[in-house]
Amino acid sequence: MKSTQEIYNLLKEKFQEKVIQHLNTLPKEEVIEVRPESINEIVEFLRDDKELHFDNLILLSGVDDANGSKNKLEDGTEEITGGTLSVYYHIESMDLRHKLVLKVSAPRENPEVESIYDVYGCANWHEREAFDMLGIIFKNHPDLTRILMPYDWEFGYPLRKDYRNPEFYQGMKVPY
């Protein structure tokens, strides 16, 4: 069983600048932030290392940080430019009983994150969901298509904070 600080030191030593920082000021959960293009090798190391053995991906969740500049549009809604979208990875080791939260942030305009589906099988659908909801593009994902929304939904990504409902979808009125 290892604490997040120990794992952070280990990772920092091995991956150098690919590991950005250890966020432990906010309550409840400590987070290690890493670079989005190297998340898959870090996760693979975490899974295969005998001491760490993070064999289970609990949850992969995309979050809109909405930390860019906001400008009001004429109809009263907001549009966000700049800033980042983040992905949180909750992983755990089922036999060593420790948990870890990883975070990657990618720029909002081009949110590209490396896919980890070949490390954890269940990341496949989680990543599709994050793509579907937030438009985060997972590179090297085998089938990055919409999963919960209709395949032909072309009005953006609903969980982004500046998402606006379309007036009509295939002739049906959307805001009811």
Binding site: L26, P27, K28, E29, V31, D55, N56, L57, I58, L59, S61, V63, D64, Y88, H90, M94, R97, V101, Y120, G121, C122, N124, W125, H126, E129, M133, R146, I147, L148, M149, P150, P158, L159, K161
Partner: protein, 371 residues
């Protein structure tokens, strides 16, 4: 001369008797043998996570009910645990006991549906109605407590909405005594039926390493042979006080992790739930139930991931707060969603009839898959 054959694509669903909701399976067939299955989900998508961002913490609870509508109490339980951990609330003893009693009753109710509909998938109609009859009795207990039979809005952050009815404990005891022989009856009627075993044993085998890699949880993981139950391994509420066993799949009728194991594990879990219920009814203290309910829920900036053992597996809530009255982001780890993701791999090489058998054995609720 070889006959020229071609593959057929069969669309099972969205409207189909045994897809357990609105699920579309795109099945590539070679005769009756399955080459590939592609599940298409999302027909029941109700924007749960988007809704959460526009609502205060207590307002979310009724929405939580509607995810896994067969285990609503447990969804509320998980959500309450998550928000309480975020707020550092300690709930009264009696509330914890009530939650455990309700949770275990809900687990039995959910498993009766899982077992009953599984029989229906295999073609046995009668066990389904027997088990629904017994589920009604549990629902009546819920109705007696909070007035609702399916979507309860019962477990609140820091407490529960109503105290137990004076007759509740007596009737629950009666139910436990009534339900024990029912399990034997179902075993005789369905579990050890030769045709049923033929249909389910050695079908849809889920090896342990694949199960862990795909993040499968709950009875499906335990059927593959790993003793992993969050009630024991990551205790929440007061589950560490009770004495119960965690059944694991042993390949009783075939291989470890086949459909029969997954089915039978649910029956064993019902027995364990009855055991927990008996202990909880013995131990439940008197006391106040509303004292810990906060007037206003405004957590500090931060994030939390809390998880509970839902009847279908690990139900987790990732709640991110930016200090407002509304959560910044609520992401649900829905066990059905994760369990569903391995479905395509399980089906490959089986027959059409096995698709139904495998789908029933992983026991998904589409409301939770799509959220």
């Amino acid at each position: 001369m070889a006959l020229k054959t071609e593959e057929m694509v069969l669309n099972m669903g969205p409207q189909h008797p045994s897809t357990h909701g609105v699920l579309r399976l795109e099945i590539e067939l070679d005769g009756e043998i399955i080459i590939n299955v592609k599940p298409h989900i999302g027909y029941l998508h109700r924007c749960f996570e988007k809704h959460c961002e526009a609502m205060t913490y207590p307002q979310i609870i009724p929405y939580v009910d509607r995810m896994d509508y067969l285990a609503s109490i447990y969804n509320e339980f998980g959500y309450a645990v998550a928000v309480e951990r975020l707020l550092d609330i300690k709930v009264p003893e009696r509330v914890e006991y009530i939650r455990v009693i309700m949770g275990e009753l809900q687990r039995i109710a959910s498993h009766t549906v899982a077992i009953g509909t599984y029989g229906l998938d295999i073609g046995a109609f009668t066990p389904f109605l027997f088990l629904f009859r017994d589920r009604e009795k549990i629902l009546s207990l819920f109705e007696m407590t909070c007035g609702a039979r399916l979507l309860y809005n019962y477990i609140w952050v820091g407490g529960v909405s109503h105290d137990l009815h004076p007759n509740f404990l007596r009737q629950t005891k009666e139910f436990i005594n009534y339900f024990k022989p029912i399990i034997t009856e179902i075993n005789n009627l369905l579990t050890y039926n030769k045709i049923f075993i033929e249909r389910t044993a050695n079908v849809g085998i889920l090896p342990l390493d694949a199960a862990i890699n795909y993040g499968i949880t709950g009875p499906n993981l335990r059927a593959s042979g790993l003793k992993w139950d969050l009630r024991r391994d990551d205790p929440y509420s007061i589950y560490d006080r009770f004495d119960f066993e965690i059944p694991v799949g042993k390949g009783w009728m075939g291989t470890v992790g086949d459909c029969w194991d997954r089915y039978y594990l649910r029956i064993l879990e019902m027995e364990q739930s009855l055991k927990i219920l008996e202990q909880a009814i013995e131990q439940i203290p008197d006391g106040d139930i509303t004292s810990a309910i906060p007037k206003r829920i405004k957590p500090p900036e931060g994030q939390i991931y809390a998880r509970v053992e839902n009847p279908r597996g690990e139900l987790g809530y990732f709640i991110m707060s930016k200090g407002g009255l509304q959560p910044w982001r609520v992401k649900v780890k829905a066990p059905s969603f994760v369990n569903m993701s391995i479905f395509g791999d399980l089906c490959r090489g089986h027959l059409i009839a096995d698709v139904v058998a495998i789908l029933g054995s992983i026991d998904i609720v589409l409301g939770e898959v799509d959220r």
